[in-house]
Symmetry: C2
Subunit: 559 residues, 2 copies
């Protein structure tokens, strides 16, 4: 077997082009690129405004089967497909999410693709990057400080201190901050109350930044945030606290999409990174819509498997931003099929066509689901060295039996040269005009019916079940004018059901909705079906213990 270089070795050896030249490929003038170092830049709001009149390029979503420990390579395929489309002569750009800083200090990081299909500079992208998440943290916590300050100075708005809904955030895995009592220490420090911190990517400000169309829309949405309730349960808004203007100022630069490049010097927008459970898990609308104005093809991805990621991409992001995807790529691997077919991780190296066949049920379900949105799907088999010809053929046969096509992709090993077939297939689909996108449910459907629609049509469960208190809350929000919002499902990503161990394609399961939350600024109702962790902890031996600069000044231990 050939000796492989690690992702970080490949990334460091990359021959990067100056970011101004990458921008030039998309016709962005140098004065509209605000550089951050020589290899990162933000695209100016002025430029974005100037291209609004142009027609859109074609939007391709890369999604996947339910994630398994074997790893599917969704980002890697997104990046590879971007390079592949450029290789066959299309002006293509990639749109992916920014990485969260905190989790890198727990487990080894790296959220920029892999092998020969990566986005660079990888190290910066896993550290501070262009500071967007720090800006979101600051904006979020300014609101928090202003809420407690309002209470301290007399609480004119009558906020019930037991019902402050706005927590604080930090981009760090810090379980000690999950639940705190703040404002201790006497009169000068305010009124003691329970509070806590979430990780920054779980902030509603993150979701808002990723859904806002421009700074005006951003400010409006920030103002709409519900920060808490009065004793009569009436909501208090961020606008009442008068924090929306200053938060917008703090987010002014963060709203501008970041431009970097792939290993093959093709443009990649890396912008925003909301949680894929309590938020919608897609990169920013600002980046996607801008890329569509200046590239012929835009390849983007959504968090987790298609049951969560693609569903939210369609029902939340596309609905809200008026996007019309032209094609969907579902990433799957032979190894993941085998795991879905009951094989243990240790035995994945052995050929097992039966297991592949069994596991394909999961893939088939996702193909069906995507088609429900009116968008044609193609399957990318992300090649792994242990895959055998027969296993690959079994997957191809299965996908063909579903009326779709599976294409073997070797972008991890070979970059764009390994993914030309998929690129050609995607272009064929996109240019056929066969996509007729529409969301799964209309705005005017009742909130609980929206949840039930997703449970029955996507998860293939028997029904959504919820306590009266949950259903009453949904009715109350409908009465308050929030009934038109889409639903953001927070469920395990490992199964169509709420049991993470139930792989394959289960049916008939009930899906309990334990809690609902209103993200009035982001513009969705979160339906929580299971444990949702909004502030991770560090493991016993966090990777931060090994992260350091070596004698050559290179970072060790981060990847």
């Amino acid at each position: 077997m050939a000796e492989y270089k690690s992702d970080i070795e490949i990334a460091r050896a990359a021959s990067k082009m100056p970011i101004l030249e990458i921008g030039a490929k998309l016709g962005i003038p140098s004065e509209d690129l605000l550089p951050y170092g020589h290899d990162k830049a933000k695209v100016s709001a002025d430029f974005i405004r100037s291209v609004q009149g142009r027609p859109n390029g074609k939007l391709v979503l890369v999604t996947a089967i339910n994630p398994t420990p074997a790893g599917e390579g969704k980002t890697t395929t997104t990046v590879g497909l971007g390079d592949g489309l450029n290789r066959i002569g299309k002006k293509a750009a990639v749109c992916i999410r920014e990485a969260s800083l905190g989790p890198n200090f727990g487990m080894k990081g790296g959220a920029a693709g892999g092998g020969m299909a990566q986005v660079v500079p990888m190290e910066d992208m896993n550290l501070h990057f262009t500071g967007d998440f720090h800006a979101i943290t600051a904006a979020h916590n300014l609101l928090s400080a202003m809420i407690d300050n309002h209470i301290y100075w007399g609480n004119e708005l009558g906020i019930d201190t037991r019902r402050v809904a706005w927590r604080r955030v930090m981009d760090m895995n810090d379980r000690a901050l999950r639940e705190i009592v703040c404002s201790l220490g006497g009169v000068a420090n305010g009124f003691p109350r329970q509070g806590g911190f979430d990780i920054t990517v779980a902030s509603e400000v993150m979701a808002i930044l990723c859904l806002a169309t421009d700074l005006k829309d951003l400010e409006k949405r920030l103002g709409d945030i519900i920060v808490g309730y009065r004793r009569d349960k009436s909501p208090v808004y961020c606008r009442d606290i008068k924090a929306d203007g200053a938060m917008t100022v703090l987010l002014k630069d963060a709203m501008q999409p970041n431009l970097v490049q792939t290993l093959e010097n093709n443009p990649a927008f890396v912008h925003g990174g909301p949680f894929a459970n309590i938020a919608h898990g897609c990169n920013s609308v600002a980046a996607t819509t801008t890329a569509l104005k200046i590239a012929d093809y835009v390849v983007t991805e959504a968090g987790f498997g298609a049951d969560l990621g693609a569903e939210k991409f369609f029902n939340i992001k596309c609905r809200k931003a008026g996007l019309k995807p032209a094609a969907v790529v579902i990433v799957a691997t032979v190894r993941a099929m085998k795991m879905n077919g009951g094989v243990n991780k240790e035995d994945l190296g052995k050929e097992n066509v039966d297991a592949v066949n069994r596991g394909c049920a999961n893939l088939g379900r996702h193909i069906e689901n995507v088609k429900q949105f009116g968008v044609p799907a193609v399957v990318a088999i992300n090649h792994f060295t242990t895959d055998t010809e027969v296993e690959i053929q079994a997957m191809k046969d299965f996908v063909a039996s579903q009326g779709s096509e599976a294409v073997l992709c070797k972008h991890w090993a070979n970059g764009s040269a390994g993914i030309e077939d998929l690129a050609e297939k995607v272009v064929k689909i996109a240019e056929s005009g066969s996509a007729q996108f529409s969301p799964l449910y209309p705005d005017e459907m009742k909130l609980f019916d929206k949840i039930n629609t997703i449970v029955q049509r996507i998860y293939r469960g028997s029904e959504a079940i919820a306590d009266k208190s949950v259903r009453d809350q949904l009715h109350a929000w409908e009465a308050a004018g929030y009934g038109h919002l889409p639903v953001c499902m927070a469920k395990t990503q490992y199964s169509f059901s709420t049991d993470p161990n139930l792989r394959g394609a289960p049916t008939g399961h009930a899906v309990p909705v334990r809690e609902v939350r209103l993200s009035a600024g982001a513009g969705f109702i979160v339906a929580i079906c299971g444990e949702i962790m909004t502030m991770p902890g560090l493991p016993r031996t966090p990777s931060s213990e090994k992260i350091r600069l070596n004698d050559e000044g290179f970072i060790e231990g981060l990847f």
Copy 2:
């Protein structure tokens, strides 16, 4: 009276040069400037290493009388003098501190000089700038998370949870976070304990970054931080927690000094910003020493009045970094003399020569003090429109009687043209070679004697007084090998005494030392003489309520 433009109007109208051209003035090649937008850049560590063999330029400290509500204009004079030196043909650079984000949302901000003597881009400098403070916040809080994580997973180091000395930080004025109980909520969240947040500028990481000579030194100092104590009171270090490597990685970019420009397109380094009470209140050693290698003159400033700022600049920064200042400028105003002479703020517009004469006692004391360090001082009278000829002459006469010289400066109104005389005078002093800098006390002096030396020779108090527990603590640190450290005094900036209302030049007052703290990483002992606030709060009507983007996209309310 002429109509004056506001600082922000002047700053916005500035005709900025591309930052690469500013760097070129100091011989920094473009590849060694990492741009942040078109008007900010970091100077690469490689370049800094490459110039270490060069001789140093001349270092000029700008300090001031005790601050009064009338405002003295120390940063304005620092910037003006830098421009003035360039005007008279010297290659000069300015070195000032970065502004803290949090306080800008409380009161109107602006820490980049004023009038025609400003550093730009002013708005960025008062917001996220190049992200240094966010990096410090992240590095600090990573250590915090790793401490609680260590305790959570079994506490192998035996940290006494009642004696965790390392708090958390946020760059925000948030009194609700001063005192908290964290790790609530049950087994999964750890062991409940008391904790709290300081503002980021109060972090020992900030002081360390500002005193470190390079990344190796930074990592070593971070490792030296004492994070808490065991039940037997033995210290636990950051190094024991294994956080020093990852913190260094987080601070890698932040260690590189930031280059911006004055309104007159002269180079200005803006880097670091430690508190001037519990830390030493100077910009970074990295920026100052780099500037000295590439400029003939470097003008820098220190926090508060000369009794605190200059004393720490000399005894901590110059001692540790081996700096030898060539001249000191003490900034004073006619208005501040009048306030020191007993005039109320409302009456400052009226001529009152007697009050000027009375108030000059404060100025005289600072002139004497600076001379004790062996550095010649010149006084800059920062001109204000209501000053009269007779008042100015009174100040000049007084300063002459002290064996020094006072120079009238009109840089606020006229930029470099208004400060040529001071620039000439500074050059004359610096080139005379008359400066013979030495710190006030030797390393080997006992810790309490160091405190007493400052109290008696700088504050002109009778003596430092402290409880036995404080003196025992100092002896314990001497026994533990920390006796060689300098002392960082935390005292009110408004008076030579510990009574902020006692203006002028008091003598004979006792100075009570209430508490001492060891900043083992930064390398000083903090002696706390009075109330020290390490997390500010917001006022009743914070300026953040007014901060917003207007319809032209300009920030309103921040200045």
